[in-house]
């Protein structure tokens, strides 16, 4: 699939899965999509290895946009991207946008075959000024 992939990273698996459900039901199946949430012990949190696995599942040669919720989701996502390393890391962007709205909007943009840059720009339109 050549559409940009979307990865959803939340501290809560319920939030992450629910957000992914919204993307699937509202936008459709044209975009590679993966989510992860919760720490390895089953509590709230995020895990670098789970994020890396999610990026793998949603991988597209057009790139991957990651939507995160709070602090650790972002820093762990940054770490996951760093561990994946170049050249693929150059095609992964962590979006500065609200997780649910950003995921739906980014996926809508991606479903039309938009570039990673355009997908990220659409999500960023939602960021507080």
């Amino acid at each position: 699939m050549s559409n940009v992939g979307i990865v959803i990273v939340s501290h809560s698996p319920l939030v992450a899965e629910g957000t992914a459900d919204m993307v699937r039901q509202m936008v459709g199946d044209e975009v590679p999509l993966a989510w992860c949430g919760g720490n390895d012990a089953g509590g709230l949190g995020t895990s670098v290895s789970a994020i890396m696995a999610a990026i793998e599942r949603a991988w597209s040669d057009a790139g991957v946009a990651i939507l995160v919720d709070l602090g650790g989701a972002e820093t762990n996502s940054e770490m996951a991207v760093e561990m994946i390393g170049p050249p693929r890391a150059d095609k992964i962007v962590i979006c500065n946008a609200p997780i649910v709205e950003g995921a739906v909007m980014a996926a809508t943009e991606a479903s039309g075959g938009a570039s990673l840059k355009e997908v990220v720009a659409t999500a960023h339109e939602l960021a507080p000024a």
Binding site: Q25, M26, V27, G28, V104, M105, T108, E109, S111, G112, T122, E125, L126
Partner: protein
């Protein structure tokens, strides 16, 4: 924008969908608009302001409720087809009405 749209084709259509142009309908409208090469715009009034129908953020922000007459215009390749397809989608209540069984 005005220059590009000087030769546009346009129409208007009443939104009858219960929740109006909210989240899911906005996604459908935007996706359909994106499937055409033409520039496509919508407005809540005949004299604008015109919104890029391919921008999901802008379309959703318009928050057009049920009963709104939506104005459509397009210019460029397959513009007429784009306007007709969008109008038809809105008239079908975005394929979500109770009278429209999903084909998928």
């Amino acid at each position: 924008m005005e220059d590009r749209m000087s030769n546009s084709v346009g129409t208007s259509v009443l939104i009858t969908h219960e929740v109006g142009l909210h989240a899911r309908p906005s996604v459908k409208l935007t996706k359909l608009a994106k499937s055409f090469p033409a520039d496509v715009e919508i407005a809540l009034a005949p004299d604008g302001p015109w919104i890029d129908a391919k921008s999901i953020v802008k379309v959703m922000a318009a928050k057009a409720p049920k009963g709104t007459t939506l104005h459509l215009r397009a210019a460029g390749e397959r513009a007429g087809e784009a306007v007709a397809a969008l109008k038809a989608l809105i008239e079908r209540d975005f394929d979500e009405g109770e009278d429209h069984a999903r084909s998928a």
